[in-house]
Symmetry: D3
Subunit: 171 residues, 6 copies
């Protein structure tokens, strides 16, 4: 079966925060950022699978820092693990300082997409082979997150979630 | 300390899906739904806390059903548990059939908001006292989700996540 | 013939006023509120008729109070009277105070929608049977407004507008 | 006191109907047209009064013809009568045929705006002196509409609405 | 062959600058003005050719003056010269002062559109016959701009650009 | 004086074409692409100058290929030459094929931005030192384009435009 590396799906979206995209505190409106990340994640999933893709779930988004109007925001979306027909996409969001050009992390998010055919049925996607240390770490954690998601949805018995269980029952 | 019931924060947003809000498959664009839910959740959090509120995290969103253009979509957002200064908001999303007027569940989502003062510092919020069975069930589960979120963020040792642990070590 | 009550069509839309929806005075832009009310009214008309509906006219909208950015606005749209194939929808718009949670009336509006079939031809709609006192009052007034609209459009001789005439020739 | 003619306030807005502005039937969405007319009317009111203006009411909008995607739409807004601090604006909306370039009327609307000072208090506006026959006709009718609006709002006794009364009690 | 005058294609778009259309300096966002001019130019090209038209190029846009939020902006678009199947459109943009109603030039722009048939193939358009002095001057200059554009795109040998050459080799 | 390379300002924006961004032919609306390029170019100019930047002119945009709804579009914006306080930004736009992931050029554009201080006055920007062959070629051509722009604006005598003149008077 075909395999792909994370760098083949990596998608970069750099954009401004205009006044029309803010909340009443003059920071980027949370809903607007969620929408931008959804667009970036869908491109990463499409690049990995070369298929039509649809959002299956948003697994986690942490809003650690407010993003003020006028900021330059960069979203980097990469497939972190591929399952049968679904793909976990890991997103990192940075703001960059205008004068120093140094960038700082504003948010992280995890979305899941499914590849479908023209009749909207799930189709298999290539495996992901992580390369860097960070990619490997996220690849490992993705399995735990998948089990967690199944457990929370009542589709997996907690006792079968071996990866997760290990987290709570060390030694 | 002041307490509030879930029905005091319940927020209903019924709206159409217009062509400008669709993806290329003519269904409601995932990012647009995420943004609408963020708006509804922020109103529920504001009604519970009577404070300025900001999105802290999106904990889970499951896109179970595509929402076609022309649909009438109802989002119902309710505070499911209040912690010190944060609130978990549970959202249910329904589509309604035009001819039968019966409605069916399209999505569920969980967002977390934090109440802040004018200087953007977290402030305490009233406790939530659940009333119905569903409200009680979601209130209980909220604690497990909170621990999970802390564990995943590396801010809590899995061994201390007693609620969660119980899930995996049933005897 | 089938009948329906106003509560069967009642549609509630609660939403924020974000900076992208304001005029240069930082209040909700009039055109944006007109558009939101059109969406809410069309859902109420659709719920009453269970048909495709199109806007026929806006009969009256009074902007009594400016709605500042950051407000929580609730639009409540209810069918106030059904004619052969048209429906009058009455809209009430409230703003709610964040700290006291008391709400105050900001606007009222009256829209008319027509139910159509797939070929865009008008089709009959169920009768409306008002229940509460306010519903009954609006139901009565709707007939006068209908006659007025026909008179103003030159489609009814003022002498035949019996309901209206009574308004001006009280003894 | 200063006077102005209708042509001094006439405002022309010609624009396309793009897919993002349609309803699910692929015609211009009613709410979008209401918003465009509000913008045009506010410019006409501003040109007449040379003041900040705010929407006071929408008195009548008739949607006679659907406006399909791809259309060229022209809105013409003109002050039809000035009262103490308020102005009635009459709007005509046309669609033009691409091949023949002939244009046909799609809608008519009547909006009322109020001129205000920096503290949001109503200020006097110049009188309007109609010139053409159509302008004179609309000027006359504006008084009847004003009385009507006051009667409907319960701010004028129908018996005092002399202009309106005459409409119903012709001998 | 059929001919048309510039006044037959003249298109006027007067609109407000709302907060949702600004950059972080509270002036009209450049991209928004480019989009509005594209809409106006496409209508002028359509009126001249009575055909479907598509943007071929933006040849020049000078942003001479910032346009502050709350401004009334008028875009006037007119076909300045027609070639085989393409048309040059000249746009003038004015801001008007609220109190004096005097208007001042804010921008100028030149766009090129091509007329196409249903299969997207270029079709011939009527000739343009300029009338006023300004129209004649722009008509002449359009040929030089066309040559320039071909030279810059490497589609014309500079030596054959007789009109342009004359500009640089005056004796 | 400080210098910078083109790669220090390179800005990548990858995004989808959603239905709300199309023209009636279901291709990306020209005005929307112009707005997206303006955003990308402003970020490149800001990265080079580390200053507030404003659009000065759009010098050339060629729409060579229609971009259909559902496409993945990548805009790459890079400063191609810096003058005293202005910067020329060269933009390349690609569409990528979903199945082969090969990308093809859709458009090219050239924008000019000016760096300003807080009082909106032009300030000096670092020099640009091109590195690759393509960067060097664009750097050279930028001077000719600058002269051309000045000549067309009547701000430079064609006889002094030495770089341009050479283009037309080859021996």
């Amino acid at each position: 079966m075909e395999t792909r590396t994370p760098s083949e799906s990596r998608t970069i979206v750099t954009d401004l925060v205009l006044p029309s995209e803010t909340n009443p505190l003059n920071n980027l409106f949370g809903g607007e950022l969620l929408a931008r990340m959804d667009r970036a994640a869908s491109i990463a999933a499409r690049r990995h699978s070369r298929r039509i893709v649809v959002t299956a779930s948003v697994n986690h988004v942490a809003f650690n820092r407010a993003v003020p109007v006028g900021s330059v925001v960069t979203i980097e979306a990469t497939v972190s693990r591929a399952f049968k027909s679904s793909m976990e996409i890991y997103l990192d969001v940075w703001i960059e300082d205008r004068e120093s050009r140094s960038r700082s992390k504003a948010n992280e998010a995890i979305y899941t997409f499914v590849a479908v055919d023209d009749t909207n049925r799930p189709v298999e996607v290539p495996c992901l082979v992580p390369e860097s240390d960070l990619e490997k770490e996220r690849f490992e954690a993705a399995l735990r997150r998948k089990q967690l998601s199944l457990v929370l949805a009542g589709k997996m018995d907690p006792k079968d979630a071996t990866e997760l269980k290990a987290l709570f029952i060390a030694d």
